[in-house]
Each structure stands twice: as C-alpha cells, then as structure tokens.
C-alpha cells in the first residue's frame, strides 16, 4: 500500500521537466570539466585498477563521483572500502593483482571505445566497476586474437 502510494507520488513528481533537469545536470557536469562520460568511466576503472594492486577493495561499494558545488567548483570524490588484512584477504589481494594487471593493459588497447558500450554505461549507475572491468577484459581478448592473426 505505502509502496503503491510512494510509486504514485514518485510518478507525479517525475514529469518530463524533472527529467530535463536531471539530464542537464549530467551533461553540464561533463561539459564543464571537458571530460565525456565514457572517458570518466575509463578513468574510474584505471584508478581502481591501481588501487587493487595494493589493497583488497570491496568493488561493489566503490563510489567515485564528481561533485559540483557550482559552475566553477568541481571535486572528484572517492569512497573505496578496503578490507582489513587477514590471511584470506591476503590471498585475494594476490588474485586481484593479476586481474588488475590484465585490466590496466586492456584500457590502453581499447581507447576508442565503441558507441554501443558508451551508451550502455551512460545509462547505468556510475559505480559498476566490476562488470565494466569484465567488458574490458573481453575486449582485450578480441584485440589479442586479432593481433595474433595478423602476426
């Protein structure tokens, strides 16, 4: 009941005017720092790839966001939950290091990301580091294959 009510309220509040405001906020955030959304996601993946080389990170709870107080003040904030050191964590850290090395390599190889994946990510929540990384790893696989065929 309360669920239905809130859904109804939510719907009445979310006219196309509110959508326009959200979309403007998003597009201006990127216009103002001259960094398009897909490049920003790429940067987040790279930042994370460096950190997981050294720490065990709870990837589902990572939040790297751009905060804008006004037109001229932007701030990049990161909240990266880190596991405290236990023997199992240490083991996981080793695994991560390998994965990170992979994905870091992938970013270089996949710089001109295709339009499809750019759109998919603009629509999704910004903190989906994990699936995004898989995508890159796959892309690297393709590139690798292609390179192998050429040689």
């Amino acid at each position: 009941m309360s669920n239905l009510l809130s859904r109804l309220l939510g719907r009445t509040r979310k006219g196309s005017g509110a959508t326009a405001k959200d979309r403007l906020r998003f597009v201006l955030q990127h216009d103002r720092i001259n960094l398009p959304p897909e490049r920003m996601e790429e940067m987040k993946r790279e930042i994370l790839a460096v950190i997981v080389k050294y720490l065990v990170v709870d990837q589902d709870r990572v939040e790297i966001d751009l905060e804008q107080r006004d037109r001229t003040h932007s701030k990049l904030t990161a909240e990266i939950p880190v596991a405290i050191h236990t023997p199992t964590a240490a083991k996981k850290a080793v695994e991560n290091t390998v994965a990170a090395a992979d994905s870091a390599g992938a970013n270089g190889a996949n710089n001109g990301a295709d339009a499809d994946s750019a759109e998919a990510e603009a629509d999704s929540k910004p903190d989906e580091a994990e699936p995004a990384k898989d995508e890159k790893t796959d892309a690297r696989g393709d590139d690798q294959e292609e390179a192998d065929q050429k040689s």
């Binding site: 006219g15 005017g17 403007l24 906020r25 201006l28 216009d31 103002r32 037109r71």
Partner: protein, 265 residues
C-alpha cells in the same frame, strides 16, 4: 564615465535575443533614457524589422567601421522615441568585416552621448559573439526553459566569465507556467539551480510577440501583453529599480483587471 554597454547573448539561436533587445530598447527609452541598439548579427539583419525601421536604412555597421558613413549618419531614429536609435547590421557582408576592437571604438564614442548601448549578439560562440562581448559592461543571457538552450547558455556563461565579463544575468524567455505547473517544463528555479546566475527577467510565452514582430511594433508597447510587461520590468531592473517578479499564473480574470487598471479603465 558615460553610458553603459549591455550585450544580449545566448549561444543558441532563436531563443529571443533580438526580441529582447528591441523590447529593452523601447522600454529604456520610454523610461526616459537615451538609447542606441546595435544589430551585431552581420549577414542576418533582423533588429530593423522587429523595430519597424527597415525602410529607413541607408548605412549600416560595416559602413561606419569602414569609414563610408559617419556614426550619426548611420543611426536610425525610432518613429516614436526621439532618444532611441538603431545601428543596423550589414546584410551582404560577413562577421569578419568587424573586429572586437572596432566595436570597442564605436561604443566608446556612443557612450559619451547615450545612457545605454544595447548590442544584439548573433548566435554561436565565434567572431560575431566576440564582437558583441568585447565592449560589454554587462551581459544579459537569454535562454528558454529547455535542455539545449540551457546547455548552450552554460557554455556562453563560461566564455563570458573567461573573458572577465561575468557573471552576467539571465533572461528566461518563453516560460509556459501551465506546463511548469504540470511538471512538464523546467521552472525558472530549475534554470537558476543549474546555471547559478541571477535572473533579471522571466518572460512568458505570448502569442502577441509574433503579432508584434509581424507589425514591427515591439510587444512592450502593447499594454495587453504579459511578455511586454515582463520586458518592461527587465528594463527597470537594468536601470537599478527593485521590481518584483510578476505572477505568471494563467489567471485572465486578475490579469485583465490589472491591465484595465494600468490603462485607467
């Protein structure tokens, strides 16, 4: 220090710069100010027809800059206001015929004899915009409550600030209050939240603006027009009066009565 140069800009085309310039010119003149309006949209002359002065043009902005005409020769006096003049854009030249320095020199001369020099900026962010921006003491940015117009306004605001001409003030044009009420249009508060600039005018969508441009008599001369009244309020704010924003709610009853009062009916 003489008169003030006010540039009307927007980034996006078709949002109402020329309409705003014409109406502010008329309103300022009707408030007793000496005013020149300059059409800086070279190649796309428009301010002359909006002000109903198209058949009086002999010389234009480029003629002045290139020395074929004296400043006073090219200035066209308004039919109704003796202290309101138009400098028309050249129609057959392009924007490169005038430089930002030319505009500074021209407006410095005008400042001596006039209270306000209004410059109608062309759309875009290139030479024409630079020409209009360079001599400005103050910039009014016209936008519509719509995604692309607000985005372009943000871009222009950044360039204005980078040129040390900021912060500028906003005119939100073509607001439809019934749509805002339904949540189907950005409100003036939304636009303010996003752009963070002071609002100097909120102009409602008004069919009378089209009738006015058809007849060449700017809408601010029409007492029946809400947009006209709103432009008049902008002019009063420009000269430093503290004018409350009018209620744009669709309520013809009250509005008609108000107009009746103002007309002494």
């Amino acid at each position: 220090m003489g008169g003030k140069v006010v540039t009307i800009s927007s980034g996006k085309g078709g949002v109402g710069k020329t309409t705003a310039t014409a109406n502010l010119g008329i309103s300022l003149a009707s408030l007793g100010k000496k005013v020149v309006v300059i059409d800086a949209d070279i190649g796309l002359r428009n301010l002359d027809v909006i002000m109903g002065l198209e058949n009086r043009i002999v010389y234009d902005l480029v003629d002045i800059v290139e020395g074929r005409s004296k400043l006073r020769q090219a200035m066209i006096k308004h039919k109704k206001f003796d202290d309101l003049f138009l400098i028309p854009a050249a129609q057959t030249r392009d924007k490169m015929a005038v430089s930002p320095e030319d505009m500074v020199k021209l407006t410095d001369e005008l400042r001596e004899d006039f209270d306000y020099v209004l410059i109608d900026s062309p759309a875009g962010i290139e030479r024409g915009f630079r020409n209009a921006l360079e001599p400005a003491d103050e910039v009014l940015i016209v936008t519509n409550p719509e995604v692309s117009a607000v985005r372009d306004a943000d871009r222009i605001i950044g360039l204005i600030e980078a040129a040390d001409k900021g912060p500028g003030k906003l005119i939100i044009n073509r607001l439809k209050s019934d749509m805002v009420k339904k949540g189907e249009m950005l409100s003036s508060e939304d636009v303010f939240d996003i752009l963070g600039l002071a609002i100097i005018g909120i102009i409602p969508e008004d069919e009378l603006v089209l009738s006015a441009s058809n007849s060449g008599v700017p809408v601010t001369l029409n007492m029946q027009s809400k947009a006209g009244m709103a432009f008049n309020n902008v002019a009063r704010r420009v000269i430093g009066e503290d004018v409350p924003f009018m209620n744009l709610d669709e309520n013809p009853g009250i509005f008609q009565r108000l107009v009746g009062l103002l007309n002494g009916r």
